[in-house]
Point group: C2
Chain length 396, copies 2
């Protein structure tokens, strides 16, 4: 019998894809230079040269069976070592390669971790705004999500609501910093308060509560801001990482789950991750990409153009009177709908000026729009007159 | 809370991996030329030149963001079209590209299809011998498997048992032809009888029973044998395919699910497949490989050395007095344990002569061993004296 839940999921078009489809239609109607499409979070900075050259060299010089053969399920040791070395630098101590389980990208990391660590009927807390697939993955693991709203315009969590969710009993908490869709980074101060609450609850309830840190935007930060190494603040933290954004290869599906030694029963947690990967049909991360990673884990993205767009758009829009969350990372600007408009109303008005934004409702908060500034600098610059008209429409 | 099922799965080492580890140890002790390791079903024929050259050309000439960017979840249209063209040739009529959902290999295809088409508490029939992960994927979808034993040494199903399983009520049936571990192909005659039973049950019960045809070995067939296009025999058939064996790139994770238009409610089935892929954390098949596929879907493997090894080993072992299933496809030889030995006893005795085989128990039948002849021709030749000693040990 066709599984009803899967059918519903397959039929529900994500809001983002619907806007992207509208953008495609609009481009063919009025020309792509006249559409200011900020809807999709696709990197627009080319894949680093070292990655490209490494892939070509591997294909030219390595024996095909070794290059394209199965690796062990958690990944080829050389690739795991390379990833662990980078994590060790962040941690300030040695993270063994055995802590790393390579995955087919961030979505598979999250889906696997939730299936491994959450059981039927349990609860998972997510901090709004959040990536909508968290709900899908948590529900697939049989869990229900509890949404913790942000406290204010800096998008740090409303701590009383967080404490309340933890009190209700959660098996895990998902954080995403730098955040999609707001670009906000959870400050060390915020993380310390969350850690205190979680540690107290663990003691009180006598069981582990896992913090799942989803960090695909970790290397995309601006100014002198740094992203804390979360396991050093809350030891029961599992890190999910993806190379999609940092190496600009989202279609290749490469990431990892790190279960650092400080996680309680880390060997058991790692085994459950292996089991969940197996149950969901994952065999190994794509092997050519693993071999590339063994040589390229230290490559950092060139974020010059993201940084420029961020400044251009944040400064201009703020200057026009829009309220924006100042993004410290990722490539998203979260803009408040003016004059009490709903997110949907705001995005519809923007559409009139060929500006495509994503309403925040899909991310679990009302009254904002997400602007993905991973576009050309020209598109960012050229969009400003349209935003000015939008500001005028609102009487800002 | 760590999910108990996932922990158990993660800790249970597959029998095959355990033997492979033993083989590694043995090779370092006595030299790899003295170990006859037939345990792993890894292709040993190099990846075709056209595939290699296409990958290099794509990397050299294509724009990185297009090459490594997200594709639509069911795959890039050019790759889906290329796969559909090949299926159309088999079908004898046009299969639209929209019937193809590209996946990260055979395991993900099966895991996704079972999650899409089977609901909690339903039953799935599998024909023994069968790939052990079928059970894992079916159970992850909440289903229980019913094992249909083979009728005799030709490894066609025991039809009364099949009918009985279908009578008990099954949501789906998985077939794997050519078969891992036996190398047997389900004959058209067998498929016609199965189809009759399934069609009668569908009518009687008033609901769809899906036949899931897992066909990664479809292109690895010997002599003038052909693998039937199953949907032409039983319309409610979903085909799962993988390029792992045919293009010798098992680590790259590339395959597809085909829901042909003859499947009842095919649009709904396809939507459920999309939903299940999403719920399990799949985003798209690796994009570079998809772009390669668009140009290489017509590449066929060079099976000369598999065919040679099959003849060498089947002829020699039969000549020595071993009972073997004559393999028409794949790269496995299924050898009966002599003198009423159990599969385990047989494999242990073989080990004494440095021959590594996999006992059949993991595949759901007793009393056989799987010999994977995807090894060098030299290894196959050199193993014969060891097999002779094994035959002598049994007094054959």
């Amino acid at each position: 019998m066709i599984a009803k839940k899967m059918l519903a999921l397959g039929k529900s078009d994500s809001a983002i894809r619907a806007i992207a489809a509208y953008g495609d239609a609009r481009r063919s109607e009025i020309g792509s230079e006249n559409v200011f499409d900020f809807s999709i979070g696709n990197p627009n900075v080319p894949t680093p040269e070292k990655v490209k050259n490494t892939l070509i060299e591997l294909l030219q010089n390595e024996e095909s069976l070794a290059l394209h053969g199965y690796t062990a399920a958690p990944g080829a040791m050389a690739a795991r070592k390379a990833a662990a070395e980078q994590e060790s630098k962040r941690a300030g101590y040695d993270i063994p390669a055995e802590s790393i389980y390579l995955t087919s990208g961030a979505s598979s990391s999250l889906s696997i971790v939730l299936s491994a660590l959450v059981s039927e009927g349990e609860k998972v807390a997510v901090l709004a705004p959040f990536f909508p697939e968290y709900k899908v993955f948590a529900e697939n693991a049989g869990a229900e999500i509890l949404i913790v709203p942000p406290a204010g315009d800096d998008m740090q969590p409303f701590m009383a609501a967080f404490e309340n969710a933890v009190e209700q009993g959660v098996a895990a908490v998902i954080i995403n910093s730098p955040n999609n869709p707001s670009g906000a980074i959870l400050s060390e101060q915020t993380l310390r308060v969350m850690s205190k609450i979680l540690q107290a609850a663990q003691e009180e309830k006598g069981k582990s509560i896992y913090l799942i840190a989803d960090e695909p935007y970790r290397e995309l930060v601006y100014g002198d801001v740094t992203v804390p190494f979360v396991p050093n603040i809350y030891p029961n933290t599992i890190v999910c990482y993806s190379y999609s954004k940092s190496l600009s290869l989202p279609g290749e599906r490469l990431g990892y789950i790190m279960v650092p030694p400080c996680v309680k029963d880390s060997a058991e947690v790692f085994a459950a991750v292996c089991g969940a990967g197996r149950a969901l049909g994952y065999v190994c991360a794509p092997s050519l990409m693993q071999h590339m990673l063994a040589q390229c884990a230290d490559v950092r993205p060139d974020i010059t153009s993201y940084a420029k767009n961020r400044d251009t758009l944040y400064d201009a829009l703020s200057g026009m009177g829009f309220d924006c969350v100042k993004p410290d990372g990722a490539f998203y600007l979260f803009v408040k709908a003016p004059k009490g408009d709903s997110a949907g109303e705001f995005c519809e008005k923007a559409k009139k000026f060929e500006i495509l934004l994503v309403p925040s409702d899909s991310f679990g908060v009302a009254g904002y729009a997400r602007l993905a500034y991973c576009v050309s600098e020209k598109t960012a610059e050229n969009s400003l007159p349209a935003f000015r008209k939008l500001a005028e429409e609102y009487g800002l």
